[in-house]
């Protein structure tokens, strides 16, 4: 409530009035990934805006279900959500999201030059609902290097080698999460027969527990894991355990927005959550340099903003290589036919 | 209610339990009144329905039918449409199973009725009265023990103290002294009497101890198989039971079949009994040749050395038992035994001695042989109030 903080220098009068109203609202409820509460993310936001950020962390699936049900009953208690792009498949078509893009109003946030490829990226095809602020190369496959030489997997086809039968674990592709994304990518890039062979004949063990997957590969319970989360692998690598990503040369690289997609739910009657002005402020802060520094630090991710440095502990292999063909898993088309095709195959082979 | 002076009025009270092997009503259509401030004893064989009657009066058992009123107000009537809850009935009760609370100390057990009383009683007064009570039952030195870390008799006394402490309008005592020794029993009996008379409590007491029943009560109700078969002041019941079972229950161990030989004047009878002749007094109305039974108390027979005498009955001492104030002899008289008690300085006999038995005709109780008649003639409502 003192002087206007530096990050929002040069805000319009409209911004100022929004900020004022937002401060009157006092707080903001964000449905975010479970990592955030134990970081300084909320504190950073409050320092910059004077608004309290309530992080409603917990089982993200359950939170999501709660958020959807509340919205349908016009009893939304969340203002914003940050995470994956699953809403593309349900809340967006159901009209339960409100556009984020029009609410970006600070010069700094909207300055396209500050963003990678000189574009602010939205996941949805209308370019306004799901704001994606980070981008990284996704190592779909990690191996335990004391069991498997990372270099021995030069081709994606190597995963089909019968010697890995029973030695692969994967994030459950039946759940709507990174496991399914990986399957979609496989299906799109290498065709249905690849997916059928990999998931149908390699005796893969599935889990929906991220920690468990990381643990498995670190211990060598399984030699190979598919669709683990880099953030979960990092601590093991840091302690010197032999976990290595593999990037076979014969396919595209996979890009991901991790958990950076920001979206604003709204009630079925089109009213927003309880703190709409604070939400606007957060959207702008999130897209600002300060916001991105804070977020990428908290999530060990790589921002799409060019003026935000890559956090020190982020492994270099996550930085997308410049000139490789890539499939962006954070794009609307993926959630259309590719999704339903893959599900069908997965539904047939994974039991 | 016909009698407003009576505290407890029972009408046609019946209780039937459900369950296997239940063939009769536990309490069967009983009616009686108890006058204000009196102590009435329920006497009767084990399982005759005493406890059930008391529990119905207390409201702990729901009657199958009948009416109960206390002090002119219905407690139970109309098949349950009137049914005053236990806590609202003006009663105190000692359970046959003492129902001492194991989670409270002896003191707390006894103080409880005072503590729940409305209007509140001051702490100091509760303490004082409880201590007084504990003193009276001889438990003062155990007051801090858990209620169940007491001997049987001590628990019974605690239960008694608890029932008496609030000086209720009606006191129900179910064998309150059964586990106490003679000395304590005397003391407790006196205490009950004292509290009862001081506060004019109407009391119903169940006991198996005849001496107690006779010594303590204003009236005695004799029950049998769920019914009331006799009632009266103690001495009457003892001296003039009106039925065979009453006679037997009241401790008259000897019965002798007889035929009237001669009807004398002033209702004196001369009988031929199975053991020998007997002259006795009896109500008028007997005629020569009639068959009857003579009841004789053990203490109304005397023994003598068998020497020729045609009036005395002859027998042989089969066994004898020392029971304190007297010796009890079992004298074999042909097929049956007679039981004889000799008090005081009477000569003693040895097993095997041939003896004469001298019945005291004036104390003999004569009952006609169509047994049960005397029960029938009992009025359905036995008004007991003075």
């Amino acid at each position: 409530s003192s002087a206007t903080p530096r990050w929002s220098d040069g805000g319009s009068p409209k911004w100022k009035s929004v900020l004022k109203k937002a401060r009157a609202e006092g707080k903001l409820v964000l449905n975010g990934p479970p990592e955030l509460p134990s970081t300084s993310f909320a504190k950073d936001f409050q320092k910059d805006t004077g608004i309290k950020l309530v992080l409603a962390a917990g089982e993200s699936g359950v939170r999501g279900a709660a958020m959807r049900a509340q919205a349908k009953a016009n009893k939304l208690s969340y203002d914003l959500a940050v995470g994956g792009a699953g809403e593309l498949a349900d809340m967006l078509p159901q009209g339960l999201l409100r556009p984020v893009a029009p609410q970006l109003m600070l010069a700094d946030s909207t300055n396209l030059l500050k963003w990678k490829n000189h574009a602010i990226k939205y996941v949805d095809s209308q370019n306004k609902y799901l704001l994606q602020t980070t981008n990284s190369r996704w190592p779909v496959v990690y191996v335990n290097s004391s069991k498997v030489d990372p270099n021995s997997i030069a081709s994606w086809k190597d995963l089909l080698n019968p010697k890995y039968k029973g030695k692969i674990a994967a994030y459950d592709p039946r759940a709507f999460a990174q496991g399914l994304l990986a399957a979609i990518v496989f299906n799109e890039s290498f065709g249905t027969s690849y997916v059928r062979t990999l998931y149908g004949t390699q005796n893969i063990t599935y889990s929906q527990d991220r920690t468990q997957l990381a643990n498995w590969v670190a211990r060598g319970t399984y030699d190979i894991v598919i669709a683990a989360t880099p953030g979960d692998i990092a601590p093991f690598v840091k302690q010197g355990l032999p976990v290595k990503p593999v990037f076979p040369k014969d396919g595209p690289q996979f890009l991901t927005g991790s958990s950076s997609a920001l979206k604003q739910p709204q009630n079925a009657n089109k009213t927003p959550g309880p703190h709409p002005n604070a939400a606007t402020v957060f959207i702008n802060w999130y897209a600002s340099k300060n916001g991105q520094i804070s977020f990428t630090k908290a999530m060990h991710d790589i921002s799409r903003r060019l003026d935000v440095p890559v956090p020190k502990d982020v492994p270099s292999y996550l930085v997308p290589a410049k000139k490789l063909t890539a499939i962006d898993t954070f794009s609307a088309p993926i959630y259309g036919t590719p999704l339903s095709n893959t599900r069908k195959v997965i539904g047939q082979v994974v039991r | 209610m016909q009698q407003t002076s009576s505290t407890i009025t029972i009408r046609a009270l019946t209780k039937r339990f459900d369950g296997p092997d239940v063939t009769a009503n536990a309490v069967d259509d009983i009616s009686f009144d108890i006058a204000d401030g009196t102590l009435v004893t329920l006497l009767g064989a084990s399982g005759c329905g005493k406890t059930t009657t008391m529990r119905m009066i207390a409201g702990l058992e729901t009657p199958t039918s009948g009416e109960i009123s206390i002090d002119g107000a219905f407690m139970y009537a109309d098949g349950g449409r009137v049914n005053v809850p236990v806590s609202k009935r003006p009663i105190g009760i000692v359970f046959q199973s003492y129902a001492i609370w194991p989670h409270m100390s002896v003191f707390e057990n006894v103080a409880y009725p005072l503590r729940v009383r409305r209007p509140r009683m001051s702490k100091a007064e509760v303490r004082e009265r409880t201590e007084e009570s504990l003193e009276a039952v001889g438990l003062a030195k155990f007051s801090k023990r858990p209620g169940t870390a007491l001997s049987g008799g001590q628990q019974q006394r605690a239960a008694l103290a608890r029932a008496l402490i609030k000086e209720p309008k009606v006191l129900l005592l179910d064998e309150p002294l059964s586990n106490l020794d003679a000395k304590l029993r005397d003391r407790m009996r006196e205490w009950i009497r004292e509290v009862q008379q001081r506060s004019g409590i109407t009391t119903i007491c169940v006991t198996h101890d005849q001496e107690e029943a006779l010594g303590i009560s204003d009236r005695v109700l004799l029950m049998e198989d769920g019914r009331i078969v006799d009632s009266g002041v103690p001495e009457d019941i003892y001296r003039r039971p009106t039925s065979k079972s009453a006679a037997q229950f009241i401790g008259i161990a000897n019965h002798v079949s007889a035929v009237v030989r001669d009807v004398g004047s002033v209702s004196a009878l001369v009988l031929d009994t199975e053991h020998g002749p007997l002259s006795c007094s009896a109500p008028a109305g007997y005629s020569t040749g009639e068959a009857l039974t003579v009841y004789l108390r053990p203490e109304d027979l005397r023994l003598g050395r068998a020497v020729g005498d045609d009036v005395a009955w002859r027998g042989v001492v089969r066994s004898r038992v020392f029971v304190g104030p007297c010796w009890e002899y079992y004298v074999t008289m042909g097929a049956t035994d007679l039981r004889v008690r000799l008090y005081g300085d009477a000569e003693t006999f040895e097993v095997g001695d041939a003896v004469h038995v001298w019945p005291d005709g004036s104390k003999a109780i004569v009952v006609r042989d169509e047994e049960g008649a005397s029960i029938e003639t009992l009025a359905p409502v036995a008004a007991l109030d003075d």
Partner: protein, 581 residues
């Protein structure tokens, strides 16, 4: 002396109007409706929506896809098989628990208090880190115990595999099933007058025979309740299977439901169809239970005449038994506790052999985080609130079922189980929809009330049934004596009934306290979004890969619970001086 001890007497609680025909029916219907709203409603929602292809909240779209899908899915059938196979742990645990209970209550065991405390502690331990701990200890490949076994000369060939049906059973048995059964059964056994057993032994029956023919027969209502409760919860849980069973392909029925719900969009129809199957299994069990309980009969085993809970003298057998139990505790409780504590101090949970594995960073991080104190406070508030409100309500309901003759008591007896008829995940969603949609209830949404209501309802089955068996054990005369002393119902209940059943009251309270503190999904769904509890924190840490911090909170939770347990049992003891300290 205790003539009327345990007299099978008819109701004396004959309040006017309540006892008579009409009153009994009216009160019965009122109570049935109240209980029904909170038990039948969610169950009905589940059954109806198993035929609904639209997501919850949308308008109903009839379809039988859910049902046909689950029956065409072979894993479902297999998972049901595994579920029932794993539920065999219940009778096994019951046998162990009965023996332990008897020894704890009836023998003068050395270290008996310690053993009892450890069982409580086992129950308070968080499942996730402990299960991972077991993995460290007994994984067939890298488990420490196996390494030890392999290094021993004679036992070289033996491998203990925790990732097996037996392993999963062991974790459940040692962590929850046995402790909870001992906690409940010992409360019940403490209410059985020792003289019944004394009479049997004096009749010439040996101790085991006496247990079989007298003790356990008198304990039967409690045993039945614990069995049924154990069985139903065994169908519902899956955390341990998830961790230990996944690598070896052991999937249970509730994992299946969980993954249906976890899909996007969630496959509710399929999940609810499975849930409905579960519901019918439970309904059959509940009705069978009700019939059995009726047949077993209610026996007042705590009489008003010198109920003593005598302990056998301390003989050599006592030392042997105590030794065995301490061994069990060392393996089943101490080992996991040690792993948990080590885990909280390690840089990487479970990797104790890396260079410089130890750190206190997680402790300082957790304890200094601003969330921690708020979360601890919230947890305690929710735990105490639910614990106290719930225990009281269950006790009242239990008393009503035992002591009054209102209409529909058997119906209530069955309905009371229903909150467990729906697996947790589904119940949460059902409640969410109910609290968002049902007029009247919806105004409560956004406060803590729905959470408290749901947690109280969740505890209803076990709490009510166990307290019911406890009230049955108390001779009516003990309450009657209070009524005859002039105490009204409330006073009698507070000063006589509750203290007499205080061991069970304390047990039920602690179980409720702990399950409420532990709850995650109801908090997420029903509490205001800013509500933080320790379990939620623990869960967040765990799902974001910070197992060490989650272990820190696990330790704190257990410490907190032990503290509350000590306090609760002290209160219980103060209520009931007849109970030994």
């Amino acid at each position: 002396m205790s003539s009327a001890a345990g007299r099978v007497s008819s109701a004396w609680h004959a309040r006017p109007g309540r006892h008579t025909g009409a009153g009994r029916v009216v009160w019965g219907i009122v109570l049935c409706v109240v209980v029904g709203v909170f038990t039948v409603l969610p169950a009905a929602w589940v059954i109806i929506n198993s035929f609904n292809s639209a997501p919850p909240g949308d308008s109903f779209a009839f379809s039988t896809d859910g049902w046909s899908d689950i029956f065409s899915d072979p894993t479902t059938v297999k998972s049901i098989g595994y579920t029932f196979l794993l539920s065999l742990r219940i009778p096994i645990a019951m046998a162990i628990a009965l023996a332990m209970t008897w020894a704890i209550v009836r023998m003068d065991l050395p270290a008996r208090k310690f053993i009892e405390r450890c069982l409580w502690l086992a129950f308070f331990l968080p499942a996730l880190p402990v299960t991972l701990g077991w993995l460290l200890l007994a994984d067939p490949d890298y488990g420490l115990i196996n390494k030890l076994l392999h290094s021993l000369p004679l036992l070289g060939g033996v491998t203990l595999s925790i990732t097996s049906v037996a392993g999963i059973m062991w974790v459940y048995i040692s962590l929850t099933t046995v402790p909870i059964m001992v906690i409940l059964l010992s409360a019940s056994l403490r209410q059985i007058d020792a003289s019944y057993e004394e009479a049997s032994e004096a009749s010439g029956a040996s101790v085991p025979k006496t247990m079989r023919r007298v003790t356990f027969r008198l304990l039967l209502p409690a045993i039945l309740t614990a069995l049924v409760a154990g069985f139903i919860t065994s169908l519902e849980v899956f955390e341990v299977e998830q961790i230990l069973g996944t690598p070896v392909g052991i999937r249970v029925y509730s994992t299946q439901i969980f993954s249906y719900v976890g899909s996007v969009p969630p496959l509710y129809a399929q999940a609810l169809a499975l849930g409905t199957l579960f519901f019918f299994v439970l309904l059959v069990i509940a009705v069978a239970y009700q019939i059995q309980v009726k047949r077993a009969g209610a026996h007042a085993t705590m009489t008003g005449s010198g109920s003593r809970v005598a302990r056998r003298p301390r003989t050599r057998a006592a030392y042997v038994v105590s030794g065995l139990m301490l061994l069990y505790i060392a393996i089943g409780v101490a080992l996991p506790v040690i792993v948990l504590i080590l885990g909280s101090f390690s840089k990487l949970f479970g990797f104790f052999f890396i260079d410089s594995p130890w750190t206190t960073a997680h402790w300082s991080q957790v304890l200094h985080s601003s969330d921690f104190t708020t979360a601890a406070r919230n947890s305690v508030i929710v735990g105490l609130g639910v614990g106290i409100v719930g225990t009281l309500l269950y006790a009242l309901l239990a008393w009503t079922m035992v002591r009054t003759r209102i209409w529909g008591r058997s119906l209530i007896g069955v309905m009371v189980w229903l909150p467990w008829a729906i697996p947790g995940v589904l119940a949460g969603v059902a409640w969410l929809v109910i609290f968002l949609r049902v007029p009247g209830l919806s105004s409560l949404y956004g406060t803590l009330t729905p959470l408290v209501i749901v947690l109280v309802v969740k505890g209803l089955p076990l709490g009510t049934q166990m307290l019911r068996t406890s009230v049955e054990q108390v001779s009516e005369d003990l309450e009657a004596a209070a009524r005859a002393s002039g105490a009204g119902f409330a006073r009698t209940f507070r000063t006589v009934t509750l203290p007499l059943i205080s061991p069970m009251v304390v047990s039920v309270f602690m179980i409720l306290f702990m399950t409420s503190m532990r709850d995650v999904s109801s908090v997420v769904l029903l509490a205001p979004p800013e509500t933080r509890t320790l379990s939620l924190l623990m869960f967040s840490y765990a799902t974001s890969g910070q197992l060490e911090s989650s272990a820190v909170i696990g330790v704190m939770l257990a410490v907190l619970a032990m503290f509350v347990a000590g306090f609760a049992s002290r209160i219980g003891l103060r209520m009931n001086m007849g109970q030994e300290a």
